[in-house]
Symmetry: C2
Subunit: 195 residues, 2 copies
DNA sequence: GTCTATATACCGATAGAC
DNA sequence: GTCTATCGGTATATAGAC
């Protein structure tokens, strides 16, 4: 909206590019990726669609800007698993680390969880190994030479972690460390059943 | 494609209407609801888009035909919860029943899970209490006068059950009764933590 | 960097012949 | 019940002035 600009940064502290990304995340989260138009995103920011194209080359580029930081974080974590021995303490540490980044990126995570098909379709072959990264995490959690039952429980444990993305809606007045502790224990309980 | 028809039923045993529903489920599951066109559905069946409209009044009507049976099943289960005492045996029975219908409807369930935003948007106000039904289930599982921690664990337990929808991909050679037993115990473990 | 105006394409849905 | 043809709407994306 013609705000004063110094080398690409709005004086207020947030660039137009960032404002577009934030508005798009909000819109994609509520209406879905396919059902959100770039005109709506531009309206939310207070610019026109044509101006938006100055900052992002395409709708998919905008989506990538939103989710790439989280994907990179997950990728780094998963690729590091190869060097971590599968001990009970390390399993606990790995789950805790994933839980922390899930909580930190919960808004983007919820978008990916609730609009998976549309996003996967839009990204096409840009992240061909994304699902494989998730499977690798499950396989690492299950441990070497795990049987089918253990692999199923490892997948269920990962599902428990995804509860973190909805935690603000479910228990809004609970502090984040407590949520982390509860879900960590729950996931470990699924992975190592008492009975 | 002009197959002989007796009172709405193709002689082969499956009506065109059913074929459209099945093709749509397949297409919606892979490409998402918004990104799937009725032209593609019609092409998969071998008819034109106009013929499809003879069987279903709108794209949303087609979606409803796919998901309504599962929704009705869930609704019946949740509305019956009011009359069930919250005892450990009943909690186990309720989880088992939900697990069974989740497994029975896993293809439709996976569609709803992976394309939530688009489907909720398309349905609009047709099922205004759908999310509330899920919350009621979580609250019943947590029990009367439950604290925030228990409610969070009840939600996580429901997430464990959703693993059933992916079970065929994760452990394809495991029989369904074993999957049911494993996930039932996992969900109970989350709800009643040992530590 | 932002604008107006537009090219191009596909969508859901309908009309009407057969 | 299925078809061809088309309407009205909206989407992404671009051209070019300022």
């Amino acid at each position: 909206m013609g705000a004063p600009v110094v080398s690409g940064t709005v004086v207020a502290g947030r660039s137009t590019k960032d404002a577009i990304r934030d508005a798009a995340l909000q819109l994609f989260s509520t209406k879905g990726f396919d059902h959100s138009s770039l005109r709506e995103v531009a309206d939310a920011v207070g610019i026109t669609k044509a101006s938006l194209y100055y900052h992002y080359a395409s709708k998919v580029d905008l989506l990538v800007a939103i989710i790439e930081p989280m994907f990179d974080e997950v990728r780094t974590q998963v690729e590091g698993l190869d060097e971590i021995a599968h001990t009970p303490e390390n399993v606990r540490a790995v789950i805790r680390e994933r839980l922390r980044s899930t909580l930190a990126n919960r808004k983007v995570g919820a978008l990916c969880m609730r609009d998976t098909v549309a996003i996967v379709n839009a990204l096409g072959n840009r992240y061909p190994d994304l699902i494989e990264l998730h499977h690798r995490t499950c396989r690492w959690l299950a441990g070497p030479h795990a049987d089918a039952d253990t692999l199923l429980r490892a997948t269920a444990a990962m599902q428990v972690l995804s509860t973190a993305m909805m935690s603000q809606e479910i228990v809004p007045d609970t502090d984040i460390d407590h949520i982390e502790a509860t879900l960590l224990n729950a996931a470990l309980g699924v992975l190592y059943p008492a009975r």
